[in-house]
């Protein structure tokens, strides 16, 4: 491989905690979850324990995937990290500060399963939206750069309804990245796409992420997607969601479509799929 040294550098950057950078505010931020629980009130005194006692330290620049059965609290955990929900117990810090502070400094990027593009704005204006939402002057070069990065430079003036599902998700990811976030939150961003488009989008995301390593947390139903993208995979048990298993993915970066044919990839995939099945059947037996 001609770019082995590049791959090693990236792996070094991505894999392990880096004390020097995690202290800086502008680099990819480390995230610490301490005893995080979330209980929803259902009314009439009933409550739902969505997330229970999660402890996790995420290194700056690390890519974490959260997998688990439907309704196991993955998205709730993600929304708490993004500051969209408050934990009932425990604390979450991003670079030593609360998610709310992270939001106020515009250091967070989010992309969800629903693309959430504004139908009345062109692809370009949708990518530029975070500047306007944050009350910052629009950096037109940055917007052009991001559209080119997701391969949609020729579709800058297209409205969302004129774009395919995969294109809309790419715009959504460009929007999430445009303010150079320290933390990238991805909630099933490719969940609504067909299998082929999804694999291609994973490859794109992997490439984009290697170009600007950002602390990333991805919620997904696809073990394959998790293994392909992540440095570490957190497996959550069914409700109440706890961390059942944390698995390190030992695959070199950059990863490409042929990575999926490597034996290590197959092994990790098989192991995690078995663990996921195990955890889910345990849950249903209770």
């Amino acid at each position: 491989m001609s770019n082995t040294s590049h791959a090693q550098t990236l792996q070094a950057v991505a894999g392990k905690p880096r004390e020097a950078e995690s202290a800086s505010i502008t680099g990819p931020s480390e995230i610490a979850l301490t005893n995080v629980s979330k209980t929803f009130a259902l009314g009439k005194g009933q409550t739902l324990d969505a997330v229970s006692n999660v402890n996790l330290n995420i290194a700056g620049g690390e890519f974490i995937a959260l997998i688990g059965a439907s309704g196991c609290g993955k998205s709730t955990l993600l929304r708490m990290i993004a500051g969209l929900e408050d934990p009932s117990q425990g604390s979450i810090t991003i670079a030593g500060q609360s998610p709310e502070d992270c939001i106020k400094r515009q250091k967070l990027g989010i992309a969800m399963q629903e693309h959430g593009l504004m139908p009345w704005l062109s692809a370009w204006d949708n990518v530029a939206l975070p500047f306007r939402l944050a009350g910052l002057p629009v950096d037109t070069e940055r917007v052009d750069e991001l559209l080119a990065l997701v391969g949609l430079a020729d579709f800058a003036q297209a409205l969302p309804k004129q774009l395919s599902g995969g294109m809309k998700q790419r715009v959504s990811i460009a929007r999430a990245l445009v303010l150079k976030p320290d933390v990238l939150i991805l909630d099933e961003p490719f969940g609504a796409l067909d299998a082929v488009t999804r694999r291609l989008m994973n490859n794109e995301l992997q490439r984009i992420w290697s170009q600007q390593p950002t602390t990333t947390i991805l919620v997904t139903h696809s073990v394959e997607e998790a293994v392909f993208l992540a440095d570490r995979i957190c497996l959550m048990s069914p409700r109440p969601g706890r961390l059942a298993l944390i698995e390190e993915v030992e695959l070199n970066r950059p990863r490409g479509l042929d990575t999926m044919h490597e034996p290590e990839f197959r092994q990790t995939l098989a192991k995690l799929t078995a663990a996921l099945d195990d955890v889910c059947t345990q849950g249903s037996r209770q």
Binding site: I103, I110, G116, M118, P119, W120, L129, L133, G135, R175
Partner: protein, 249 residues
């Protein structure tokens, strides 16, 4: 295209009604109170009556337009302010429901003694429009997709900025629905306001022709009022189709 189809349906409906009216009038099914349509037209196109009708219709149109603009603006602004200051929303909802619960017929005389005869038609028209637009705009805000709210929250966007950039554009289709409903009620509100004692307008014409048993004039005024509110509705439907296409919705 749908606008053209709507227009065709209207035309079919209206011509059926006109034929039925003509027959009913000629056969005097409802006595002297319902003259044949042709007789009403013959009366309306006499120069003296045409001049009177157009002058009155112009005044009513002006009253309805002012009322429509004022009512729409107030309705939209109040709905928007509830989005910026959340605690205000509940109170505003209750207030507007109360305002709507007061019958216009009771408000008319109150208007006469407060804003005066001159401005009562505008005020009653504005009140009628206000509620339709307020409720529709509020409904539009309720339908903002959750993922749009998440995006605005993830950037710590100020409420007023989120309103301007995300919530208001999302509410536009619903707001236009409200305007469509409101524009007909504006004409109705203006005529009602004139009825209470304005110096001139279709409402005044209707009261005086009723009291003097000028059946043809009464029907002419009623028809013109109907045509006016239908035309305004159609104009807004046209605007709606244009705007929604431009907004990509």
């Amino acid at each position: 295209m749908t606008v053209a189809a709507d227009l065709l349906k209207w035309l079919v409906g209206i011509s059926t009604l006109m034929v039925f009216w003509e027959i009913a009038g000629r056969q005097a099914w409802l006595g002297g109170g319902l003259p044949p349509l042709s007789g009403v037209f013959a009366y309306a196109i006499e120069p003296r009556s045409t001049e009177l009708l157009l002058r009155s219709a112009g005044i009513t149109a002006t009253n309805a337009s002012y009322g429509f603009v004022i009512g729409s603006l107030i309705g939209t602004l109040i709905a928007c302010s509830g989005q910026i200051w959340r605690p205000l929303k509940q109170g505003l909802d209750t207030l507007s429901t109360f305002v709507n619960a007061i019958p216009l017929i009771a408000l008319g005389p109150l208007m006469i003694v407060t804003v005066g005869e001159q401005f009562t038609p505008m005020a009653t028209a504005a009140l009628a429009v206000f509620f339709a637009v307020f409720v529709a705009t509020l409904g539009g805000f309720e339908r903002v997709p959750n993922v749009h709210r998440d995006v605005t929250r993830a950037y710590g966007t100020a409420h007023w900025r989120a309103l301007l950039l995300v919530q208001f554009p999302n509410a536009i289709p619903s707001l236009i629905d409200g305007l469509k409903l409101g524009v007909s009620t504006a004409v109705l509100g203006a005529i009602l306001g004139e009825w209470f004692g304005a110096p001139a307008g279709l409402g005044v014409l209707i009261v005086s022709s009723m009291q003097n048993f000028q059946i043809n004039l009464l029907w002419s005024a009623a028809i013109i009022g109907t045509v006016m509110s239908a035309a305004a509705y159609f104009l807004l439907a046209l605007l709606q189709a244009r705007l929604l296409r431009r907004l990509g919705l």
